[in-house]
Amino acid sequence: MNDLVKENKLLDTVINSFKIEGKVIRDCRVEVYADKNTVSSILLFAKNQLGYIHLAHMTCVDWIDQGEYEMIYTIYSPVDKITLFVKTRIDRENPVMENIDTIWDQANTYEREMREMFGIEFPGLIGEHDFILEDWDQIPPMRKEFDTHKYAAETFFTRPGREDAKDVRDEINKRSGAKVPEFAKKYSRE
């Protein structure tokens, strides 16, 4: 029986050390919410003092309605076998976040991708600006307001001879005389 002793102990240690909030999600999963300026201190503390040496993942979620980006750092202890999520929110219009590639070398790749895909600046980040995209002059494409459908319609053209390219299902149904079922109409394309 797992009564979450290890998880609660970890949570208490982190929230008491930094006066922040957090919760135990389930066994092997703990999350804490911090101010963006405290994140690197928490990560360094967890890595050096608590044995959370594996940066498993870093990601960003665009909460456009709230005008914020949520930054999530997922770190893991091979000894405790617990995953700790350190979450913070930053302003979406002026997104600046601390650079942590001095703590984990591999964070550099995540940060370069987030700089390109979300437009987040990481002061002191070294690495070429073009990581995945090349000569991109639009808004960062992973931002929620970037419309892939509109971009594709404006940027690409139909191959000569394929101007009639339509929804294949519509065409097949038209030729065979069958009707498109309601559910397919509604959910096939936006």
Binding site: H57, V61, F85, Q106, T148
Partner: protein, 368 residues
């Protein structure tokens, strides 16, 4: 001493030694690499962005394409993350089927690695054999799912179909065949002096830096660190099965090859046990209408052990019928960039593709 001039060498994006479309920009002096930097972007298809426009089930058609040689761990990891958000139970039989599928996926990816690794050492018999033998595993997938490479078979709540009649017998026969073939592979690759001399002491990942650089999977186990998601955080029914996690010391290509060689035997062991222990019963906890299905708001993180190491999915739901955000991190994300750039300096140019293969770099997984 005459100092040799430094030259820039672009390896890729189209190169037989690269494991996909990717470029490694090398600064070389003579035959020796001085520095390396990875350039990706040739395979970016914006899958994560496109998934945000599709419903929870339609996402499967995209996410299995994150890594072509190994699509099944992507399906399973995403399905597990969605199940966690939805509190959806998976029937016991489905868990066993998933384990069998995962281990078959591991074996077919091993066969491809085998081909790439020996091919990049100039040994061209092995690829002919292993890619041929891989087809027997793909036959099993075809019988089970209808597809040889992309299956879209594992769904939230279980698997899409039950095992066809006679499939387990055919699988067991295939396992017997492959087990015999592994001995022959040993003779042509692992007992081969050319391979031993090329692999030993080359492309060393230091044990003390491995975790910090984000090394996972067989590459990490090749440094002597026993780490495997199947043991550390058991999912499905891995905790009920008996298998070993092989490790080796040294951190070089040779150590990684020995780890993989033993892992495939463990996969055969797991498949035999899973088939023997698999209960009868339901295989799918059905989603009533997959096209209208909404998943409760929240965030979930799921990780799975693929043949190249830990794969993690971070899935965010806003309560709607589409994923709000899906982010995947595969082994290649760190192995192909940070680790590669750090271990290539000092190596010979001829060893670059050899090292790339041994790290299990899959470019589409880096850029998605």
């Amino acid at each position: 001493m005459i100092r040799e001039k430094e030259t820039t060498l672009y390896l890729g994006p189209q190169h037989p030694g690269i494991t996909g479309n990717m470029m490694v920009k090398l600064k070389v002096q003579g035959d020796t690499v001085v520095s390396a930097s990875t350039h990706v972007g040739y395979l970016h298809r914006a899958f994560e962005k496109l998934i945000e426009r599709r419903n929870w089930i339609q996402a499967f058609t995209l996410l299995c394409r994150f890594c072509v040689p190994e699509p099944d761990p992507m399906e399973l990891t995403y399905a597990r993350a969605v199940e966690e958000l939805d509190n959806r139970e998976v029937p016991e039989r489905a868990k066993y089927i998933r384990v069998i599928v995962m281990e078959l996926a591991r074996m077919q990816a091993f066969m491809l690695w085998y081909a790439g690794q020996s091919g990049s050492a100039g040994l061209y018999l092995t690829p002919q054999w292993s890619v041929g033998d891989r087809n027997y595993i793909l036959d099993l997938f075809e019988d089970l799912t209808g597809g040889r490479i992309y299956h879209m078979y594992i769904w939230p709540g279980g698997v899409r179909r039950d095992l066809p009649k006679g499939w387990t017998d055919k699988t067991l026969r295939t396992m017997d065949y492959i087990e015999k073939r592994l001995d022959e592979y040993n003779k042509i690759l692992f007992d081969n002096t050319i391979f031993q001399k090329r692999a030993q002491g080359v492309g060393i990942v230091p044990k003390d830096k491995a975790i910090e650089w984000g090394v996972v999977g067989p590459v990490l186990r090749g440094t002597g660190i026993r780490s495997d998601v199947r043991i550390d955080e058991p999912y499905e029914v891995y905790d009920k099965l008996d298998f070993d996690i092989p490790t080796q010391e040294g951190g070089d290509i040779w150590a990684r090859a020995l780890v993989r060689k033993e892992e495939v035997r463990q996969s055969i062991r797991i498949i035999r046990q899973a088939i023997a222990d698999m209960p009868e019963g339901e295989y799918y906890n059905k989603v009533s209408n997959p096209m209208k299905w909404t998943v409760p708001a929240g965030q979930a993180w799921a990780r799975t052990e693929s043949v190249r190491g830990e794969i993690g999915f971070h899935v965010t739901s806003d309560g709607g019928n589409k994923p709000y955000r899906v982010h995947v991190k595969g082994a290649a994300y760190t192995h192909g960039v940070t680790v590669l750039e750090k271990i290539l300096p000092g190596q010979n140019i001829a060893d670059v593709s050899f090292i790339l293969n041994s790290l299990g770099v899959c470019p589409p997984e880096i850029e998605r």
